[in-house]
C-alpha cells in the first residue's frame, strides 16, 4: 500500500487511546477496513507511557501548544546531587522533599538511563472482575500481556501508634486498610465495638442483589460519611479507610453513598478472583499504554492500517450527502485526503469545531524515588503473589483540612517493569488543580519519604494538570454524535481504576458500524490464531 487515500475505509479511528484501540481491534476482526490514526508520533494519546526523554519531549509539546490536549502546565524536576552543584542547590524543587538538610544520603542514588523507565500518563489499574479483563481474555489479547497484582490499600494516619518506630519504614505512618473479614479480626488498632459495626456494614453491602429487594429503596443520595454513621454507626475514624476502597477522589462530604457503596462492593468482590490476596492487576511495562498497544498490534494483524503522526485537519461531513457510500471525507495532516463510512475519535483528535471542555481538572504527578519502599508491599495472605503496586490515600484532614479532597498515591515497584530495581514510581492524583493541588501532592510524597527515611529521595518528578472525566462528576460516558457518521468518544477518564463503561462505549461504537451483519454477542470473542495458543 502506497497511499492511505487509494482505498475508501469502513471506519477511520482518530487517536490511539484504549477505547479507540479496542474499537479498532473489534472492527478489524469483524472484517472491516480500518484506518487508525494518531496525530502524535506515539501510541496512547492521554494514556501514553514515556521514557524520561520522551517525557521531556512531551512536556515541551504540551506547553508549546496549550489547548490542544487535555494537559497543561507540565513541569519536570530533576534531583541535583549537592556535590554536583556546589553553589546552593537550585530551588527548582522548591519543596522539602529534595533538600534533606541533615543526613543527606551518602549513597549516590542515580537515575538510570532514560529507557529504563516507563512512565504512564494514565496509571489506572483493573479490578479482576472488570469487563475489560473478560474482553482481553475472550479476544485472546491477554496472551501478549503480563499482569501484576495490586496489593494493599493504606491510609495516611500521622498519629499512628507506630509513628515512633523507625524500623517499619514508610508503614509507620500508614494504616493498612482491612480488605476482608480476616483482616478486620487481625487488626489491632480497631476496637471490638468498631469491628462489629464494620462487619455489619460489610455484610450488608455484600449481600447478593436479590436479597436486597427489601431495601432497594434505601436512601443512597446522602453523603457517604453520613450514611455510614446513621445507618451502621460506623465510627468516624473508619470512614476514610472505607472511602479509599471506593477510590473516590472527592471528600467524604462530596461523595454520595450511591457512588461509594457499589465501588466498595466491586473492591471486595474482586479479591480472590485470580488468586488469593488481591483484587486488582496492573499490566507490566506501562499499564494501559501496554494494553492499548497490544490491542493495536492485534488489530494490525487483523488488517488494520496504522499511521502515527497523522492527524485530521479538516472534515467534510456527509450530512448533506447521507446516501453516499463513503460520506465522510477527511483531510489529513500529511496532505492526503481519505474517505470513510464512519469516523470515530476523541474531541481532541477530531478537528476542534465543537470542542467540549472536559468537566474536571485534576493535579497529577509522576515521581521516581530512590527506594523500593518495600514495607508497603507485604504479603498478607498465604499463597498471595507479591504485589507490584499499592494504593495510598491521604484524607483531606491529614494534609490540610477536612474539606480538601483526598490525595491518592499509587506506588509501582520495579516488578511492574516501569523502573529499575531499588527504585519505585509514585503516581499522585488529587482532584484539585493548579498550585493548591500540587502543594497537596508534594506534601503527601514528602510525608511518605520522610517516614521511609534515607535513602529515599526524589530523583525525578513531573507535574501537570489533566482534564477529563471522573466517574463521580456526573458526566455521562457516552458517544457524542456530530452526524450519523462522525462520533466523538467521551473525555478520557481520570479514575484510578478502569471504569467498565468504557467497554460499553466501545461496544456501542462497534455495533453502530457493523450494524446487523454480526451477532452482537460475538463482540470481542476471537479464536486464537494458528500457533498462538499455548501448547
Amino acid at each position: 500500500m502506497e497511499t492511505l487515500s487509494e482505498t475508501p475505509w469502513d471506519a477511520i479511528i482518530a487517536g490511539t487511546g484504549l477505547a479507540q484501540s479496542l474499537l479498532a481491534l473489534a472492527l478489524s476482526r469483524s472484517g472491516k477496513k480500518v484506518l487508525h490514526l494518531d496525530r502524535n508520533p506515539y501510541y496512547g494519546g492521554s494514556e501514553a507511557a514515556f521514557s524520561l526523554d520522551e517525557a521531556q519531549e512531551w512536556m515541551n509539546s504540551v506547553n508549546q501548544h496549550p489547548g490542544q490536549s487535555p494537559f497543561e502546565d507540565v513541569k519536570i524536576f530533576t534531583y541535583q546531587h549537592p556535590q554536583d552543584s556546589p553553589q546552593s542547590t537550585p530551588s527548582q524543587h522548591g519543596s522539602e522533599s529534595s533538600a534533606r538538610p541533615e543526613g543527606t544520603p551518602d549513597i549516590r542514588a542515580k537515575l538510570a538511563a532514560s529507557r529504563a523507565y516507563t512512565l504512564s500518563l494514565s496509571p489506572y489499574f483493573l479490578y479482576t472482575r472488570s469487563q475489560l479483563i473478560s474482553t482481553l481474555i475472550s479476544s485472546k489479547v491477554y496472551r501478549q500481556l503480563e499482569f501484576m497484582a495490586v496489593g494493599s490499600w493504606w491510609i495516611h494516619s500521622p498519629g499512628h501508634p507506630n509513628a515512633a518506630s523507625s524500623e517499619l519504614g514508610a508503614t509507620r505512618v500508614f494504616h493498612r486498610v482491612p480488605g476482608n473479614r480476616e483482616d478486620i479480626f487481625a487488626d489491632t488498632h480497631i476496637s471490638m465495638k468498631s469491628k462489629r459495626t464494620l462487619m455489619r456494614f460489610l455484610r450488608h453491602i455484600s449481600k447478593p442483589e436479590e436479597e436486597d429487594d427489601v431495601e432497594t429503596d434505601e436512601d443512597l443520595t446522602m453523603p457517604f460519611g453520613e450514611y455510614l454513621s446513621s445507618k451502621f454507626s460506623v465510627p468516624q475514624d473508619l470512614h476514610d479507610p472505607l472511602l479509599s476502597l471506593s477510590l473516590s477522589q472527592l471528600s467524604q462530604q462530596d461523595t454520595t453513598a450511591n457512588y461509594a457503596v457499589p465501588r466498595i462492593k466491586r473492591h471486595l468482590a474482586s479479591i480472590g478472583a485470580f488468586g488469593p490476596g488481591f483484587g486488582g492487576v496492573v499490566s507490566k511495562y506501562g499499564g494501559a499504554s501496554e494494553i492499548l498497544q497490544v490491542a493495536c498490534r492485534a488489530s494490525a494483524v487483523g488488517g488494520g492500517v496504522y499511521a502515527l503522526d497523522t492527524g485530521i485537519q479538516s472534515l467534510v461531513d456527509g450530512d448533506a450527502a447521507a446516501e453516499a457510500e463513503y460520506p465522510v471525507e477527511a483531510q489529513l495532516s500529511n496532505g492526503e485526503s481519505v474517505r470513510s463510512k464512519f469516523l470515530f475519535g476523541s474531541t481532541w483528535d477530531l478537528s476542534a469545531k465543537e470542542q467540549m471542555s472536559p468537566p474536571t481538572k485534576v493535579a497529577r504527578s509522576i515521581t521516581i524515588v530512590s527506594s523500593s519502599l518495600a514495607s508497603l508491599f507485604p504479603i498478607t495472605v498465604e499463597g498471595a503473589p507479591l504485589s507490584a503496586s499499592t494504593v495510598l490515600m491521604f484524607p483531606g484532614h491529614s494534609l490540610s483540612n477536612p474539606q480538601s479532597p483526598p490525595v491518592y498515591l499509587q506506588v509501582h515497584s520495579s516488578d511492574t517493569g516501569d523502573c529499575p530495581r531499588e527504585q519505585s514510581i509514585i503516581y499522585g492524583s488529587v482532584s484539585l488543580s493548579g498550585p493548591e493541588g500540587h502543594t497537596l501532592l508534594e506534601c503527601a510524597i514528602d510525608r511518605l519519604l520522610r517516614a521511609e527515611g534515607p535513602p529515599a529521595i526524589v530523583l525525578w518528578s513531573m507535574r501537570y494538570n489533566q482534564m477529563g472525566r471522573l466517574s463521580n462528576d456526573g458526566t455521562p460516558s457516552t458517544l457524542h454524535p456530530h452526524s450519523p457518521h462522525v462520533y466523538s468518544f467521551p473525555p478520557s477518564s481520570l479514575d484510578l481504576a478502569f471504569e467498565d463503561e468504557t467497554v460499553d462505549t466501545v461496544k456501542k461504537a462497534w455495533t453502530r458500524i457493523v450494524g446487523d451483519e454480526v451477532d452482537h454477542d460475538d463482540f470481542m470473542i476471537f479464536d486464537d490464531r494458528d500457533g498462538a495458543s499455548d501448547e
Partner: protein
Amino acid sequence: MSESAGANAPKPSSSVKLVLLGEAAVGKSSLVLRFVNNDFQENKEPTIGAAFLTQKCTLPTRTIKFEIWDTAGQERFASLAPMYYRNAQAALVVYDVTKPSSLTKAKHWVAELQRQASPGIVIALVGNKLDLTNDGGDASAAPEPENESAGADGDEAAEEGEGHDASSGNARKVSTREANTYAEEESLLFFETSAKTGTNVVDVFTAIANAIPESSLKTGRGAAGSGQTALGARSGDDSRVNLGERNAATAKEGCAC
C-alpha cells in the same frame, strides 16, 4: 536443527518476540514464509495488512518459539514498527543485496533499535536476494537481470532504474565485506540469504535463538531481566498473575462476609 516441533523429550520452551524490519520489497515476508512454511512465492504481491506467525526452533537444550511480527505492507507509514519492537527480544533487519539504498534504510532501523528497543535485544542484519548474485546459493536459479520484477522476493519493481550488472548476471550492489564490517562494528549477527533458494534462512533463526540470553528467556519478555526483580529473592516472574486461571478461586474467598 529441526524446524518444527519434534523433540521426543520435553525441553524447556520459551517464546521469543521477533520483529521484522526493513525497506519495502526486500523480502521480509518471503524470509519468514521460507522459515515457517519452507515455501517461496515468485513475484509475491506486497503483503497487505500485517502478519503474525509463529514457528518453533529446537536447539539441543531448549525449544524456542518465535513470535514473528511482520510490518508487512505498512512500511511507508512507519507506524507499526515502534509498537512491534517494544519489548521484542530479537529483530531481523533485512536489506536487499542488489539495492544499496536498502542497506542505508537498514542502518537507520539498527540505529533506532539501539536507541529505542530493549537494551538486550538481539539484532540480525540480513542481506537477502543472494540468488541474484554470482555467489548466490543456487546460481542457476538466478533470474534474468534485466527483468525489473526479477526481485525474487516480490520486489514491487523498484522505480529507480537499478543498473543491474547484466553482463555478468550479477546484480549485487552491496558487497559482503561492507555489510559485514558494519555488522561487526555494531555487534550484529550477519547473514546473506536467499528466501528463493532457502540459502542460510534457517541458519539466521537458529543463530538468533542461540544468541538470546538465558536470563531474558526466563522472564519471557523484555531485556535481560532488567526491572524484573526488586529485592534479592523477590522475583517478578513468580508474582505474575495468570489470567487464564480465573476459576482457580471464587468470589467467596474475597467476600467480606
